[in-house]
């Protein structure tokens, strides 16, 4: 499922130039560039939580889906995003391969005052985040006239 979602993400951004990655289509919306950066960021966060036992409260993941994020990522070319996605994903797959199905179903409660979750849910959530942004990238492309 992670592979399939990634394949769709890559197909949707293939060939985009810096201007297209930086276009703010909707006045309150994010650019395709920041969405790609966010996909990698969420995956890294859940690597820390599920592989290394870091409490989410101990992860200083800056919110990049805002004006500051759009400014920070402006001017970058597609390979910048693709390289980061690839590096992060390679680590995910390497670490997942060391673990078994029992690990997927291990329960813990990393977020205070929330119901316990398991590692499967965490990785489902990473997947969900990518697919969610995938839907957004598609309508941004469409509005920019890049696809039907």
């Amino acid at each position: 499922m992670l592979d399939y979602a990634r394949r769709n993400t890559l197909a949707d951004v293939q060939g985009l130039n810096t201007e297209q990655l930086d276009t703010q289509v909707m006045k309150r919306g994010n650019t395709i560039g920041t969405l790609l950066a966010h996909i990698a960021q969420v995956e890294e966060t859940y690597q820390s939580v599920t592989f290394w036992g870091v409490k989410p409260s101990g992860i200083a993941a800056e919110n990049i889906l805002n004006n500051a994020g759009r400014k920070r990522f402006r001017g970058r070319e597609l390979p910048h995003y693709l390289e980061r996605l690839k590096t992060v994903r390679a680590e995910t797959l390497a670490e997942l391969q060391k673990r078994d199905d029992a690990w997927l179903h291990q329960e813990y409660a990393p977020w205070p005052n929330k119901v316990p979750m398991n590692n499967f849910f965490c990785w489902f959530h990473v997947l969900e985040d990518e697919i969610n942004h995938g839907g957004q990238i598609r309508i941004l492309r469409k509005e920019m006239g890049l696809s039907e």
Copy 2:
């Protein structure tokens, strides 16, 4: 996973009125109403394929993500969409409960000239479609000023 995605979809559309459901935020884009109708339509299509062995070529699923679709659904209230989503989902869950994990991994090739798939993939794809549209509904809400 199906339940979780649905919970997010319902949370994102709760309280929307007909005008909000019918607002075409982006000039080439769909309304939240047609996206909700499409979520139910995709689920029904895969019910036919996976539960009843209907070939996709035998399913006359009209494309509703276009001008005709937006016209067809205009003027409906939220309960219209929610009832349909609920009815379709109830059938999905009832039928899935009759089947086991071996069924999920059964392979077949319902689409001509494509690699075989299995029932798990079909239902993953239904889930993916809903999450994908969920991401779209979120940015449409944001652009309409309904959420941050």
